[in-house]
Amino acid sequence: MTKPSHTERLELFRRMLHMRRFEEMVIRLAQSHEYTGRQHLHIGHEATGAAVAMAMRDGDKIHTTHRNHGYVIACGADPGRAFAEIMGRRDGLNGGKGGSWHLCDATRGFQSTSAMVGGSIALAAGAAFALKLAKSGNISFAHFGDGTLDEGVAYEALNIASIYELPVLFVCENNSKAGQRPSSMLAAARLQDVPAALQIHCELVDGADSDAAQIVFQNAADRVRTTGRPVFVEATLERWPGSHQVKADFPTGVTDISLALNLDKVEGKHADWIKRSDPLLRATRALIEDGVSDLVGLLELDAKVNKLMEESRSFAEASPFPDVSVAFTGVFAS
């Protein structure tokens, strides 16, 4: 892919919008319900997540970290069941047994979301191993943050993927922070120096640039399919100022996509993030400037997505807590 078509760009935008409005609703749910979970919101990472999801084909597998909501939604999971899971309700994707940290939807190839740093990277190598053994032609995707490269198992998994030529696309979202401190402390000058030393082809992309992300991830996935070898993509991102696992808030405001055409008017503490690092506003502006759509069209889509999220919230709130008896079932597969 050298340039995505108008249809592909609109589809990417549609998924990004679902991801953003989903997370904003998670914040509202956290504010209005006393639920016990934490949230690792994907706001600001939407271009990367949506581009990865669009590069997936039927039969592919993906493992993510616990910053998973965006990926689950980008892969097409029901937002109502995802909200219900985050709230620990019966109709949740995992029946209330996983929570925000472990949303999954196996029918969409969305395998576990491991909440252990270093969990997803090696599980995805395992999925690639199985897909290769089965001669399926499918590939697997590993999503993780830059902090994962601090873990020994990440090095082991990259090495194994390289020596056994496993068809896995490593997606490293580098937002450079974990909580309020740097999330990776590598002696290597660049993250990709590590996989590159293990003979893995590496790419770097501005993870907030939807067009660039779409091109890079589509081409990277094609390369994995063609060569059968792993590829490592580092997506650079600026952490969203509201990213906090227990404080649910809107420090950059509820997203107003019409702001994309008036970025010079943005002021305040987080103006830089809004102007430069919000992938949704950047995509909105690009679509309008390139004549792919107009603001009216995008606002209509936005209204539809907001309505879906409202309905999904109602579904989740109406779902009861699970019957306590299920706590004791399902430990083993039959």
């Binding site: 969990g119 199985a130 053994l133 082991e156 998994a157």
Partner: protein, 324 residues
């Protein structure tokens, strides 16, 4: 019926598993150990060489490779050699493989088999003599299999490879040379079925792994003292066949629990707890636990022997419970 040693029986079980299921694959080498029985592995390499990979020394990622592959439809058998090496894969066993079926609400499962050699093997010292299965049993979601006889080893291996759950097949490294008649054909031994290895009427010795062999020796010694010992091999620690254990204790009225894991929170402790809490009134005397004391395993042979719950300690324990 052919004779096989335990290593050959394990390999035979694996070969039947690979023949039966094209998804089955082997990660690891040295499956029959590195002692005199190691050549048993040759049959496997000859028939299924293309389905074996010899991974780098990356215990954590290899466990995760097997788990992730299992979740995506493969049936991996992952060999670790010495059980303590798998301490590097603790998170992968406990927090990933064991949890995935439950936390996905049954959407996913991890049918992976991990194979480990445990126990005091002569000169292993503090770092190579570990028996971690009590620690594994302290977590939900893992099946734990402890083959003692060649016949059991083959059938239990078949069940492990056919299981839809993460399964740890862990055996004492010193038992690989044990030899007996083993059926040549394909067969399964189900999990959760303890085996009465020797019937008796005065005292029940409940044991697993190497301790079963020691208990049988102890029973032969005690026969000369007119003490009739029943020896039960639990065969699988998870699931545990408590019914068979209780039926035996109800018959004899006395219990000795023997196991190589540590006496604190160990298997022997759990065996006694499961009897006392369900069949206290069947006991004519206080049960006794024979387990590894809370000390690392020392290197020097007489020191090593002193911490091993061997035959003589079982004999003494049986005498004590019968005197009361």
């Amino acid at each position: 019926m052919p004779q096989m040693n335990l290593a050959e029986a394990l390999i035979d079980g694996l070969i039947w598993s690979l023949r039966a299921d094209p998804r089955a694959t082997i990660i690891g080498r040295g499956i029959a150990g590195h002692g005199p029985e190691h050549a048993a592995e040759d049959r496997l390499k000859q028939e299924f060489g293309s389905r074996i990979i010899d991974p780098p020394t990356s215990e954590a990622a290899v466990a995760q490779l097997g788990t992730g592959a299992a979740m995506a439809g493969a049936r991996p058998f992952v060999h670790y050699g010495t059980a303590v090496f798998a301490y590097e894969a603790w998170n992968q066993f406990i927090n990933e493989a064991a949890n995935i079926h439950y936390m996905s609400n049954g959407q996913l499962s991890a049918p992976v088999t991990f194979h480990l050699f445990h126990g005091i093997r002569g000169g292993g010292g503090p770092q190579h003599s570990g028996s971690p299965y009590a620690m594994y049993a302290n977590n939900p979601g893992l099946e734990i299999v402890l083959p003692t006889s060649p016949r059991d080893a083959k059938g239990l291996m078949r069940s492990a490879m056919a299981s839809n759950n993460p399964t740890i097949v862990i055996q004492n490294a010193k038992l690989l040379g044990l030899t007996e008649d083993v059926p040549a054909e394909d067969y399964y031994i189900p999990f959760g079925k303890a085996d009465v290895k020797r019937a008796g009427k005065d005292v029940s010795v409940i044991a697993c792994s190497r301790s079963v062999i020691d208990a049988l020796e102890a029973a032969a010694i005690l026969e000369n003292e007119d003490v009739s010992v029943e020896v039960i091999d639990i065969r699988t620690l998870a699931p545990l066949d408590v019914d068979t254990i209780i039926a035996s204790v109800e018959k004899t009225g006395r219990m000795v629990a023997v196991d190589e894991t540590y006496e604190i929170c160990g298997v022997a402790s759990e065996l006694i707890a499961s009897v006392v809490t369900r069949a206290f009134s069947a006991l004519k005397s206080q049960p006794v636990r024979v387990a590894r004391p809370m000390t690392p395993v020392p290197f020097s042979p007489p020191l090593e022997a002193a911490v091993n719950p061997g035959t003589q300690k079982i004999v003494e324990a049986c005498r004590r419970v019968c005197l009361r």
